[in-house]
Point group: C2
Chain length 448, copies 2
């Protein structure tokens, strides 16, 4: 009985992190109901662990509250096409064509919409694999994917372990190479694990890395050689806030190596800061996969009213290009600059590539021993000091001591959070007594 | 590869019916987009197969378009409590307490909300069973449940076959008895099938039956004796349009035999005629089950904005009690009266108990032989004549020749549909040449 609980306990263990702590202190703010009234103060926990963008609720609330967002038609109240309403799939195709810089227009018939990328991982795993089969995934990676592919699909992840060591001029920490992919695949094969696909996250969570077009093509060619499906998670594609960072969507590549096995995921949860809206989308040229995923969409459907709202949002290019994206990027950059400055002041090394909501922080020198037990103890010390971070173990990082720190939050919470981080690390490193000035948000005038 | 397709082919076969035909002609109407512009006419297929209530879009559109329905708060855009926002679970508990005539108030902590009852069946099956285990279900039954419990959960249904023969004064056609339940359970046990639960649908789909409090208690006592979970699907509980029909929700029973194994399902899809809104809810006193289902709700989540809308709708008792329910019931009754009259005029026997959107029609005398092949041929003749019905095989009915006919549609479509039914059956029975008058809709003044 209660199979799920047993199943969960059999799934790869994760330490507390984004999957299990997302509700912590995530509902403060403007106060709709009881749950919104918990204002963070000196007593509350500051959540720098959950990857949400809390910088643009003002812009989003204003746009989503406009009268064009509430339209109730009979067709929206009836059973939908489970792939999503045609008008929305057309809009998604146009949107992705434009923002992914697709050479030729994407086709609505290759689009499936559903209630978020967690569901999409679950459905794709179920569709592409038999029970017990596996996907390759480079580590560290967004740990919730372990559950997404396992809980319903019983699909395992085979880790491609990367490390922080830089081995040459052209390399960076935790760099994914085809050699690593080949090794992991061979090891899985030798252990009798049937690998059916590869998961890529780009921009990367938690590294913030962006794959170059050449890298992307190398990974895709590797997959093609081994007849592996590739799921490309691009949920941070519009959250590249550093102008110098040149992002390349897999959909922009001319002549994809294996389009029938390349499946692209996007959602509004990150790029439009709306994890609670539950909207995600699949783009695949493989009609069998699209049809099979769609037949599961009965369990992952989103309201017709929300489908209408999303179509309205995605088609409003003026607002997206002239209001939302520039403002969002400016705020993300300001918040990032503040946290990066704090970390530098504390002498803490970190990685950050100008994309995403987080900084991958190297706290190895704060561990008495290089063990995950010590990492957990440090994580616990942060929590005891009322600041939540995500520890590297959550991301299956093989080196103890890395943490993901989310910076996409309002200045007053961010400052308080960083102050608490400093207090915890204070005994181990040089830290300022008082928090530095943190004028990070709303650097530009609010429009619309 | 494409496991799902293989899985589907291994699932119990269903003939075309509600699960596979729901998109047919379901998007006519007031025309939002291309898909809404297909107006039914002499050329289109009239869908009397999909159980949707199309009688009250005017009332629903007006209510859902009111300005109180569009509220955008940061908490609604952030990761939710996966069981559903607290404010909505409180409203659901109040709503069910009132409409289920619960002696004591239901508790919000026993409520889980998600995107429809299809998802709820899927999650409950996964949570309560191991792969290959089974639920008992009396036949005929809403056939899509077969997929709901199988596609993700790999759970089978063990049919409790009922028949139309009336064996005594106190019996009715397709009556469920404890003896039948015991026999089916014994047979399953003897075949090595592990049965973990029982599914009850009340009001019943497709029979329209309503279980009496005594019957309900008997079934629940049976389940308790055998330590079976009971899933009670009450999605038609407010669609009892016949005043003389006394409906009794399982939640109204004092002293439930086994509350820890009794799980109640409700949704807005039927009772509020909004299949496309995707809102369903579980009520269970079993905290382990609620927690386990909630952990799967990440894959069945609904938008925070919709959660807000549903809370607004459910708390508007004035509108529900004084506008929506009386008008909806009057329209359902008028449509039912029309179709029942047509069937009587054709000399066709049928069952109907004053609940639901459908009439269970006995067309056995129109089959040259009592086989499912002949049933399918008749179903096909209807479709060739551009009217869609659901055949009994779809509901695992053991007697060939029964059909479910949905009457909850606008007069012009209903009349055309019945005219086509008559044309098909014309050679076999006495039928009128011209359709009878069908003033079935909007019998009362529109309010609000």
């Amino acid at each position: 009985m209660f199979t799920l609980l047993q199943k969960e306990s059999r799934a790869p263990a994760t330490c507390p992190g984004p999957a299990s702590t997302q509700d912590l202190d995530s509902n403060y703010g403007d106060g709709l109901e009881r749950e919104c009234s918990r204002k963070p103060d000196q007593k509350g926990i500051i959540n720098l662990g959950t990857s949400e963008n809390k910088l643009c609720f003002d812009l989003l609330s204003r746009r989503l509250s406009q009268s064009d967002m509430l339209r109730v038609e009979p067709s929206l109240l009836q059973y939908p096409d489970w792939r999503g309403h045609q008008f929305l799939r057309e809009e998604v195709a146009r949107f992705l064509s434009f923002y992914c810089k697709r050479p030729t227009p994407l086709k609505p018939e290759n689009v499936v919409v559903l209630n978020g990328c967690a569901s999409l991982f679950s459905a794709l795993a179920t569709v592409l694999c038999e029970v017990g089969e596996a996907f390759l995934i480079p580590t560290p990676y967004y740990g919730a994917i372990t559950q997404h592919v396992y809980l319903y699909g019983h699909v395992r992840l085979v880790c491609v372990y990367l490390d922080s060591e830089v081995t040459g001029l052209d390399t960076r920490p935790f760099q994914l190479t085809v050699e690593r992919l080949e090794m992991a695949l061979q090891r899985a094969n030798s252990e009798g694990v049937k690998v059916k696909g590869l998961i890529l996250i780009n921009p990367h969570n938690p590294l913030g890395d962006i794959y170059s077009p050449g890298e992307l093509r190398d990974y895709l060619e590797f997959a093609k050689r081994h007849e592996l499906h590739v799921m490309v998670d691009e949920v941070y594609m519009l959250s590249v806030f550093e102008k110098s960072a040149a992002y390349c969507s897999v959909l922009s590549l001319e002549g994809l190596p294996d389009p029938q096995r390349t499946h692209v995921m996007w959602a509004t949860s990150k790029d439009f800061g709306m994890s609670g809206l539950r909207f995600g989308t699949l783009y695949t040229e493989n009609r069998d996969v699209a049809t099979a995923v769609a037949s599961l969409c009965r369990y992952h459907g989103l309201s017709g009213l929300v489908q209408y709202q999303m179509a309205q949002l995605l088609r409003d290019r003026d607002w997206i290009n002239q209001v939302y994206l520039p403002e969002n990027h400016a705020r993300l950059k300001a918040a990032h600059t503040y946290v990066a400055g704090e970390l530098r002041a504390m002498g803490i090394p970190f990685l950050s590539r100008g994309a995403g909501f987080f900084i991958w922080v190297d706290l190895r020198k704060f561990l008495p021993e290089a063990t995950f037990k010590e990492e957990m103890l440090l994580w616990r010390r942060f929590l005891d000091n009322k600041v939540l971070l995500s520890c590297g173990k959550t991301f299956e990082c093989k080196e103890p001591g890395w943490f993901r720190l989310v910076f996409s939050d309002k200045a007053h919470r961010l400052c308080l959070g960083m102050q608490r981080v400093r207090q915890v690390l204070g005994g181990k490193s040089q830290v300022a007594e008082e928090p530095r000035s943190c004028q990070t948000q709303e650097p530009r005038s609010q429009r619309r």
